[in-house]
């Protein structure tokens, strides 16, 4: 399948319109010198990923990303930035020096090349099944509470443990005045 054939489908245009800003936001996220801007670029990246999931026909997962990742996780990050008093303005010490950056770029590009080679070798341009087969949210809920109920309960316990752990770690001891634990 040539690139012109690929571009003749409207879905692929939607894909490009979502994917290019997503990658741009992700690159800005890892290179920006402002912590708050990095959190805002994370909102852009996650919103584009939610749009990509909806394009793939997974509406429920897409809206879950919007609610949990954009709604809760980003707010948590903003609180973390405020509480740790990360430098709000432009700050050069947020990243490692240039030689580390070059090595990191080489590592990540090698990773991308490896995955890309393997994927193109394995799945060269197989079209996906039609969206008529897309999973409805009701089916997803039924599967979640029958076939996958044990992993679901395990995740529930994990979230409870994380909740209690977060409280224990972040709580100040009333007596000492300084942070407890550790």
């Amino acid at each position: 399948m040539s690139f012109d054939d690929w571009l003749s489908t409207s879905e692929n245009w939607v894909f490009l319109v979502i994917a290019l800003p997503m990658l741009a936001a992700a690159v800005k996220l890892v290179t920006t010198t402002n912590v708050v801007h990095a959190a805002l670029y994370l909102v852009g990246t996650l919103a584009a990923s939610a749009a990509m999931l909806i394009l793939l026909g997974a509406e429920f997962v897409g809206w879950t990303v919007v609610l949990i990742s954009i709604g809760a996780v980003v707010v948590l990050f903003l609180f973390g930035i405020m509480i740790t008093r990360a430098p709000m303005g432009r700050e050069v010490t947020l990243s490692h020096p240039r030689n580390v950056k070059i090595a990191a770029a080489a590592v990540s590009f090698a990773l991308f090349a490896l995955i890309g080679f393997a994927v193109i070798d394995a799945f060269s341009a197989q079209p996906l099944t039609e969206p008529a087969d897309a999973t409805r949210t009701g089916d997803l809920g039924a599967v979640l509470f029958t076939r996958f109920v044990i992993p679901f309960e395990a995740i529930s316990v994990l979230l409870l443990a994380a909740l209690i752990g977060g409280i224990v770690l972040a709580r100040r001891d009333p007596g000492s005045g300084e942070g407890g634990g550790l």
Partner: protein, 101 residues
Amino acid sequence: MTITQFILLGAALFSIGVYGLLTRRNAVLVLLSVEVMLAAVTINLVAFDRHVADQLAGGQVFALFTIAIGAAEVGIGLAIVLLIFRNRRTSNVDDLELLKL
């Protein structure tokens, strides 16, 4: 739409996350890069779910689990960063070298 374009997108996003993880010094920014990598994993899971056309929608269910684990990871991670900041007055991961000889 092909499966390849989605996996390449996921791979690119994951590689960008790895770059951020390796270059950032601030602990909060390291956690932000991990979140980008988790978004890439979610896209991969759902793309493979569509490719396999699984009747049980296992890919989407595990994408939901990934999102839940990501939220838990961020909560605990930020609590640890907060505790380190309280005790050491820094959130620079290079300064945490107590285990070095």
